[in-house]
């Protein structure tokens, strides 16, 4: 079996599962946030069950519309705080957490070998730690609150083997964009995507999270990386729980194996309005930008901010461009303060906002007017994603977004003048 199959077999009490089996899996952890949690609570209240199955296995994180930008959002937050208190569920409030997919691993809720579901499509991020993690909807979250179980079809697995060494100013984001460009926006629908190979082994957990995070942008059920000593190093001090690390068998079955080499990878950009519409940054210098956004569950981690700061240091954001930097969590924020990164951003003329999803989903902070263009480190460039349906979003790495903020047009960071 491969790692995904092993985790699902264990979670459903079976010795073996194969792709296509439908299993009733025991859920280890479930997460909901402020835009999916309220519907889940409403649905849970309709089940007739008075207490959740296990309050210690549920996590609520306020991250989308925070701090509350409207009375409606404030009401939703209040409702979730009430539910958390009543059921004695851990809730990460404004200023105590950050973006759910960053907070979950940071606070030790993500462990290798476990089944984690979340009412957010980017829940697949946690596969970076060797967990099976997938997104579900609010009603299904309510059913898990009540029963602790979820039916899952064991997916076929696509193995992606990555070789080579990243060149200067290319990053895991460029890799996942080029993978999606080849696989297409629905090329892995219902499937597991297992990232392997020397370049993934050399990659820190932050980069692995970027890969797994965007697996859903090719339709995948989950993205996953076998856990190793880097996983253990990250988890050290974050959890007191024991966990089981699974690896894929040598003779494990894959639907197909795709090979990539990052040695020849160029800074890449997903052009509007599909994540698989990939072009090299160097070919897009005619695209003038109004906004540059560095943040999100895809690229708001300390490694991402360091990369952006390296480029923005002693440089200035182009007049007429607004640059937004949003650290993914309070932990990332504090680390960025310690390292002097926030000062670099402020000196460059960028605004640093509190940890939240920000403009990524067009709900709050930094929305776009008709005709405007944003180059962003986030994960989706659908029509209307970041505000007006007449605005456009280009997705790129933190280095490319920082370089573009300086020049005012989409820029390969290697083309910046010293």
């Amino acid at each position: 079996m491969n790692i995904t199959e092993k985790i699902l077999a264990k979670a459903s009490g079976k010795n073996k599962v194969i792709a296509g089996d439908i299993v009733d899996a025991n859920v280890d952890v479930i997460m909901v946030h402020d835009l999916t949690g309220p519907l889940a609570v409403e649905a849970f209240n309709r089940t007739g069950v008075s207490r959740v199955w296990d309050n210690k296995k549920i996590v609520i994180i306020l991250d989308h519309q925070v701090p509350a930008e409207s009375v409606k959002a404030a009401e939703l937050h209040k409702m979730l705080r009430g539910f958390a208190k009543e059921q004695n569920i851990r809730l990460y409030d404004v200023g105590r957490g950050g973006i759910c997919h960053q907070v979950m691993p940071e606070k030790g809720h993500v462990l290798p070998g476990t089944v984690i579901v979340g009412a957010d499509s980017h829940t697949c991020t946690y596969g970076a730690f060797g967990a099976f993690a997938t997104g579900i909807g609010s009603t299904e979250a309510a059913a898990v609150f009540a029963t602790g179980k979820l039916w899952l079809k064991v997916p076929e697995t696509v193995k992606i083997v990555v070789d080579g060494k990243f060149r200067k100013f290319t990053a895991p984001k460029d890799l996942i964009l080029s993978i999606i460009g080849r696989v297409s926006a629905d090329g892995a629908t219902y499937k597991a995507v297992e990232f392997a190979g020397p370049a993934v082994r050399d990659m820190n957990v932050s980069g692995r999270m970027t890969l797994c995070n965007m697996s859903v942008e090719m339709g995948a059920k989950n993205g996953i990386v076998e856990p190793d000593q880097l996983t253990g190093k990250f988890l050290k001090g974050r959890t007191g729980k024991s966990y089981e690390c699974f690896n894929s068998d040598v003779d494990a079955k894959y639907e197909k194996t795709l090979e990539f080499d990052v040695s020849s990878l160029e800074p890449s950009v997903a052009c509007p309005s599909s994540v698989d519409n990939i072009k090299p940054a160097s070919e897009l210098s005619n695209i003038l930008v109004d906004q540059a956004f560095i943040g999100s569950c895809t690229n708001g981690r300390i490694e991402d901010l360091r990369l952006a700061a390296e480029i923005l240091k002693n440089r200035t954001v182009k007049e007429g461009v607004r640059a937004l930097v949003i650290p993914a969590s309070q932990e990332v924020y504090k680390q960025a303060v310690k390292e002097g990164l926030l000062e670099i951003f402020a000196d460059a003329g960028a605004i640093v906002c509190g940890s939240a999803c920000g403009p990524c989903l067009g709900g709050h902070i930094g929305l776009l007017a008709p005709g405007e263009i944003c180059v962003s480190t986030s994960n989706r460039n659908f029509i209307g994603r970041m505000g007006s349906t007449q605005a456009s979003v280009y997705l790129a790495s933190p280095a490319t977004v920082a370089a573009s903020a300086i020049t005012g047009h989409i820029t390969d960071p290697n083309d910046l003048e010293a």
């Binding site: 829940t123 989706r380 994603r385």
Partner: protein, 165 residues
Amino acid sequence: MKVSGSAIKLGSNIDTDVILPGKYLVLISPNDLAKHAMEGLDPSFAKKAAKGIVLVAGRNFGCGSSREQAPLALKYAGVKCIVAESFARIFFRNAINIGLPVIECRDISATVDSGDEVVIDFDSGEIQNKSSGKTISGVKLPSFIQEILADGGLIENLQRRLKKK
């Protein structure tokens, strides 16, 4: 279970941001959500769907976010059923869980045009275009999913199962 209605046909990769833009996610009432259904693609969609329609789409319908508000908005706007060449997996589960019937059919875009009268038989998986007289086969849903739909959604299904115990 059979569902019938006049078709509205869309293309491929219709994502949840055009089905229900992010700025409306603070709305809770399904009827409020319904007013904005498919607003990112066609602001007059809710009006067109109000009489009760069958939505026909290409590949990867509902890709993107896990927002259940997307199928909720469609259901309450008047979408009685969605037939697509393929669905994004979270949308597919969400639709079933809120009691909105969905079925996959690879040949649907080539067989049905906007305005055609369509009948979907969920027991057999057959889709009949009454306007053209053609009948094609979709992917029949497993019986436990058909039960969820027959109950009206996952919560109703769960209530029934919990009572049995």
